[in-house]
Amino acid sequence: AQTIHQWPVAEIKAVGSPLSLGCTIKGKSSPNLYWYWQATGGTLQQLFYSITVGQVESVVQLNLSASRPKDDQFILSTEKLLLSHSGFYLCAWSLTGVRDTQYFGPGTRLLVL
């Protein structure tokens, strides 16, 4: 069975500090991977997607970056957090492209102060 794990579960960070959120998928090789973000009371927005190791496409510009260093790992990061980065970050995977079922991880809640 496939499992998706995100870390950390929650984080409180200062404005201007760096951030690194992680996501790993076990039990599935070469998945398509996605990062989503939802501000409190807002809409779930797709930020990045990756179809293979080393390849990441940006969908929404939020002063964040993403990398896929391994087949089963997706990292979301920034060197300087903004207040507007607060929210809920979800990682997801699918077998093929966006028209396939997306399986979401448990999410990371981020508060920037």
Partner: protein, 117 residues
């Protein structure tokens, strides 16, 4: 602007009734339409999806209706049950979109369905 809109943020239905959730979209290039269900403190899970080459798909108590000319799709839940109470997110997407957006899935804001006993 928001490409997928759920105009009604909440809906209450009596147990046994039909729940109808609606979604409007803007982008003509969307060719995939889906409904996700989300319980509090849980992540969204796919309920049902449909491609643009059909205008209806049924799966048990769930039916998705797609109106391409009206850029509208809906989810009908028959014989609604209290366990159907959740937030329902509609989503639309297309692979290989132009303008560098690639494979993007756009979500609506969600609508809370409450099924009362």
């Amino acid at each position: 602007g928001q490409q997928v809109k759920q105009s009604s943020p909440s809906l209450t239905v009596q147990e046994g009734g039909i729940s109808i959730l609606n979604c409007d979209y803007e982008n003509d290039m969307f060719d995939y339409f889906a409904w996700y269900k989300k319980y509090p403190d849980n992540s969204p899970t796919l309920l049902i999806s449909v491609r643009s080459n059909v205008d209806k798909r049924e799966d048990g108590r769930l039916t998705v209706f797609l109106n391409k000319s009206g850029k509208h799709f809906s989810l009908h839940i028959t014989a609604s049950q209290p366990e159907d109470t959740a937030v329902y997110l509609c989503a639309a997407g297309a692979a290989n979109m132009q303008q560098g957006t690639g494979s993007k899935l756009s979500f609506g804001k969600g609508a809370k369905l409450t099924v009362s006993p």
